[in-house]
Symmetry: D2
Subunit: 463 residues, 4 copies
């Protein structure tokens, strides 16, 4: 890599102009792929610009890349084809990604990952890409294709632990996520997260130290994100494999298909939704025999959080739902041992079922989990939150209800809907709805969901 830094003029934050060349041989793009990345009219260039900026501000103190979009208005990126492959030209790029005028190599790698994924998407998932994105198999195939192209799929022994949890957690919780990561790392496990800060960074940091002690040569710190999220949360600087999925649903499917087990740390509403998404899948009859280690864990102070989640899940999905997860409080070693044992069973099951180690083809994810839910008044009114339904169906609808309520409370579009048409009307069992309400109020109290003013439910229960 080499670049020609230029002193910026009239810019509040220091910037650099640079030319970046990939150091490995991974980045062979076709002329057509380069052209599409450059084509401003397709929207692809703007997407590239935003993702690149997020990567270039990785590790910044401010954890808000939206601020970055403001601060580096003149930033631009151009991809060129050249002798040894590709060249990236950056203009007015954040100086923080450079040391003495040289780009930090890890940042450059993430930059090339962005280009690679967007090029793949432009070609393979574009209008004339020939993929059927309306069928379950077609979507799963697209997810597979993106992950393969990003070299995430490796025929190694199962060892990938997905960690979920909030991006803004307490210091005590953060330290705990590092300790869990350390114990996972000592046992040779790799980490995959949503690649932002907080519970997405801690496990990677802890594992990094443990991997160094264990002299692990090629540890993997996989970040799975999508354009909306990366624009809000820069990948943390430990991530050494980054993949940008096209949307949230494909991102969730990626987690579920490449992870050999999942650990959930305390988080906000997003984390609660992820739990419901996962249980909605795991409680399907089709997945009944499938081993899938799932551990909720946090420090002692976080015990109430998980008790509340647990109560809510028992009440809504029934006691059976609890067979799919374990809660471990304040014991990182125990978490790592249980995860190791769980992944051992995953390994045996894959061998027995002739399923691949690197992609969980067997897990059944129906189309309704693959397609986005848009929380309109009609969609919310169509939910059916009554006891007696199959747990996995109920979980799916609960996730949607949850998603809609959150939107009505904190998302701009949702709040406007409520303003215009009044509260959502939800058909639901009163006890269940009350429990949901308590959960939401607790999140607000614990500052895990940030709202302005007092909390006002944005829905009415119709029974």
């Amino acid at each position: 890599m080499s670049q020609a830094p230029r002193a910026p003029i009239h810019t509040p934050l220091p910037t650099v102009n640079a030319r970046i060349y990939p150091s490995g041989g991974l980045d062979v793009l076709s002329r057509d792929e380069v052209a599409r990345l450059r084509d401003a009219s397709s929207g692809m260039h703007d997407l590239l610009r935003r993702c690149a900026l997020a990567v270039l501000t990785t590790g910044s103190v401010s954890d808000d890349p939206r601020a970055a979009q403001e601060q580096y208005k003149d930033f631009d990126i151009q991809v060129h084809q050249q002798d040894r492959g590709m060249r990236i030209d950056l203009s007015n790029a954040p100086a923080m990604a450079f040391v003495d005028g040289e780009i930090i190599r890890g940042v450059a790698e993430l930059l090339f990952a962005v280009v690679r994924d967007l090029a793949f998407r432009a070609i393979e998932l574009g209008e004339d890409g020939g993929r059927d994105l309306d069928s379950t198999d077609g979507i799963t195939d697209a997810v597979f294709g993106l992950l393969r192209n990003a070299r995430i799929l490796e025929p190694a022994d199962p060892n990938l632990v997905v960690c979920w949890g909030g991006h803004s957690i307490s210091r005590e919780e953060y330290i705990y996520t590092k300790q869990v990561g350390y114990e996972l790392g000592l046992r040779g496990l790799d980490i995959c997260t949503g690649c932002g800060p907080g519970a997405m960074k801690g496990p990677m940091k802890g594992a990094n130290i443990a991997h160094a002690k264990q002299r692990r040569r090629h540890p993997r710190y996989i970040g799975v994100t999508e354009p909306g999220i990366i624009a809000a949360e820069s990948p943390n600087p430990i991530v050494n494999h980054l993949v940008i999925m096209p949307d949230i649903e494909k991102r969730l499917e990626a987690f579920v298909r490449i992870g050999h087990g999942i650990i959930v740390f305390p988080g906000g509403v997003g984390t609660a939704e992820e739990i419901l998404y996962l249980l909605g899948i795991l409680l399907r009859e089709e997945n009944a025999e499938l081993p899938f280690p799932l551990i909720f864990t946090g420090p002692t102070a976080s015990a109430p959080y998980f008790e509340q989640i647990d109560r809510f899940l028992r009440l809504t999905l029934g006691e059976a739902a609890t067979s799919r997860y374990e809660i471990v409080i304040a014991d990182p070693t125990e978490v790592a041992k249980k995860m190791t044992a769980g992944i051992r069973k995953v390994r045996e099951h894959r061998i027995a079922q002739k399923d691949s180690f690197f992609f969980n083809w067997s897990i059944d994810i129906p189309l309704e989990f693959q397609q986005p839910f848009r929380p309109t008044h009609e969609a919310m009114a169509a939910l059916d939150l009554h006891k007696g339904r199959k747990p996995h169906e109920l979980a799916a609808d609960l996730r949607r209800a949850f998603s809609g309520i959150v939107a009505g409370n904190v998302k701009e579009e949702g709040m406007r809907h409520i303003d215009e048409r009044g509260p959502f009307e939800i058909h639901g069992d009163p006890e269940m709805m009350q429990s949901l309400d308590q959960l939401l109020r607790a999140f607000v109290e614990q500052r895990r969901m940030k709202i302005q003013g007092d909390y006002q439910p944005c829905y009415r229960v119709l029974g």
Copy 2:
């Protein structure tokens, strides 16, 4: 790799049943790709079976894989998906590919290359692959995609020499091809050929020894073939990168786009056609500025062969054509030095033009060279072999005439056409046609074209 060999019963040639697993991490197939390879109805399975058998008989004394198809009638191959990726099950496979029950690792690698290329083709170039195979750009893109997927495209310094020439050449000529390969290898050049025996094997063998002396860590011996050719010529055992292009035209385009220079050894009619194909491209105005080292070479005894070719080219395409090639007789060191110097210019040109080192995007190959020529009476009558035409147009038509005449003399379908409708009628300049006739007669005399009985021209010149 591991396998469970079984003693064959009632089989004339020894065979082995085996299960093969890839050793590297390159072979990550999707469920869909595996399914298509297994689908007998699509014809893909039969293609896989034939290519696999050619690879498994690599290095056999008999150089005729068609015999292999006869000898190993019960051979079958099945591709399965499994824990670490892929598993290949072979039944009644040629024992010659195994040592004490273990498959030779290089053979296994070629086998996985076959599976990889056919899987890519099944998906990407299939009906719903979304590629436009009717346009120049679409075809070039498909060629690029196949080569990239086969990991042939590397952003290294230009060093790839394509060697063309006959598969059945004299011992003296064969030794000469080894010597040239040795001198190329001493200078750090890699070799790409059609991957059969003769002039396709010699340069690789010579380079192999030189690369060992120079401690070259990752020398490349690239074989570019297509289903019809691999079924007739097993890849020689030195090949360590194999790619199966879908047809002859894409194979020729692959040679021209990845090679940084071409050496032509003595060969038969096929080699003559290849020369006309290449000159037809190089003589286009669009390619006038493009450096492309092209050397015809052979031992002293082969001098008359090249003199004749040279005379024919001068007469038909004009003296200008000779600016595009050099003839070097009996001097392997000189050939290597000239090639090294030529590739240095290619390198400079690519840098100046911002073209990639690994794929010659700049060279202009029109659609007529990308689409197959079918030699019917009508097509032959439409040729226009008169002086005064632009050399590259004339070269294109000469190649077609050549191709048709060969078909009329030795290929089953062509001979039947002649039987049914009489000789082809060709509109051509008498002197030019006479020269062509002399060339063909010389090939027959030198046993470079094998015909039964006396040579009878299969065409009439109309003037």
Copy 3:
């Protein structure tokens, strides 16, 4: 590596019995070398046992390996020769070095480093090793031999920064050492320290994160220790190259010959002695032309510490001494930039002088710096601390005075000498001696030198 853990009985701390095999190919010992390591009568076995225990308690909370000697009385280590090379049998080893019964791989590597160095020493520096350890060249050759055998000497570009400083420093100082290490690491510099905690660990930790970001493949965290020190300070767990020199003087010479620059963080009396050792060498006329970047640095709160050191050096060695070091306060980036620039000059000088990059043959270290100083009353009375002497001679005597005074105040043997024969009598310039006294009192106040009761000078100045 593999081992058969056994549950310990009646042991207060958990222990493990294990068999360890080296994973790399580095550990080829001869039968004779193994025999000497096993020979208890030679003292070598006890030395091996103590060093091994220090390594096995690396990263322990208690930073006192002497406690470890108490706590793991039953610990033993045996070296055996076996099929693939060497086997180490551990009995009653600290369980903290193991994860689920498997030894941490980094710990195992340090263990093999211990065995390797002691084996080398047993053979090469033993009675019949044929080395002349009484001459300057002989000692330097022994230092070279040990470092080469430990694979510390690499013909890479100069990039090794030696960091000195206290093992028990303030939290603020520790964080600062990490920041400096981080900035060094971002610039591709490797770290070498005495391999204990505090200022010996911080720079490695900081560099480790920066190296990960820069994707440095083989960063070096070199720990240089000797038996007396390692028994008091376990190597920190980041160290990935450990070498055990035979004594303190050879350890200091190793630092000076392999380091391309030295950074001094705040420390206690030991650090002050090291500064005098180094200046005593650098101020020699023979070394006048030799570039050797030397930076004293710490956070703002540590400024007074360096001011005092600086005053003392100016007063005793003269203003000229200040040309050999720079003081940078609270600016890690500046430290790293200055070090980078300084090492660039070292590189140029080595090339010009045809000196090797990996071992500073040119620097002149006289025999008096290579041989240990034993602070008896006679030796102390022989010192000559008056102005007018050459700075380097004065520096050497000051270092000795320092060493003796420290011994008289805090070391068991020294204190006994004082009890028996009264204070040392030192011939010295009053002003100089007063300045020395102030420095010592400041160390006591800042808790950098720990004494019991009030501070009482253990010497009288004779003038």
Copy 4:
């Protein structure tokens, strides 16, 4: 590596002046080691010059490096220490070691091996090296030290086959040695020979092709030589590990201690001596339980050669001797299978005996086999070649007799002895001596021992 070639003037053969730098990190010499290599007075420089010249003429058509000494009288080599380690300056070096002014990398590696071994020898085995070269253990330790320093000792699975045989053998025999090497290579076995032409080159060439097919990444072609031999036989160009032992006896011990099995191809008197050396060791009671695969093999035409050897061994050493070797005629696959099976037993034995894989410490080699035999009349008269002696004692004396007779027939010093004092007088059993005589006459007839004029025995049998 880089060099500044200069056109030679007035030199019959083309030469080059060049500066060579090592490419790997293996070559860290001390100042003292460099000095000794440069010291002409020690004889070390002349030795270095001769060995270097042999390496630089590797692969030359003429197989006589003594001619090279004549042809390149002005050749010189100087070793310098420099920034990254070592620099070698060559003046008037044979141009054949260079391609377009660049030294062939493999040749450069062998050159650095020469420097490394001679430096080790200068220091470690010199007068003040501290090694006891008068005891069995001391000599074995020196052999071990040299091999370890040359990185020949690897803790890998046993797979090293030593091949002995003549350097000038028939074409048929040479092709056979290649076939055997090919079959060994297919089975993952590495090759060690005396590193000259003929039977020392063929097995390496064959294995090289097989290793390429099996994609063996780091195949080892080890050449073990000594100054007298390398000056007469350049290492063949396939050798990638070269070690120069100080004398013939240490070279033989190296073969026996690092080889896991030995194959003997047809050869001359030297080969016969080697057989007697090895049987003299294997027939000792101390080695009775030691597995050591030993196979005599050649093409059909060589069968009589081995029959004669076999008859002689039976007659002299008794039928028991035959238990130590097997004769396989014209079956390379069988040889490789037997060797593979034999090495499997060696592996099991080493594990059971806790002996290392890479150095056969267990095999008992008495001092008399480690010390050179000088064939004077007195020494010859002291031999005792009568039946009834222990086979291994008899083998030792037979080897000596053999050695003396050869010297008396073809070596300059031996022939002069005979001229001066008449034939040797040997006390021996008539039948045994007659058999020996027949063997010698057969060698003469088969042109395996070249003498001038008719063959005249140089000894008298006294009975």
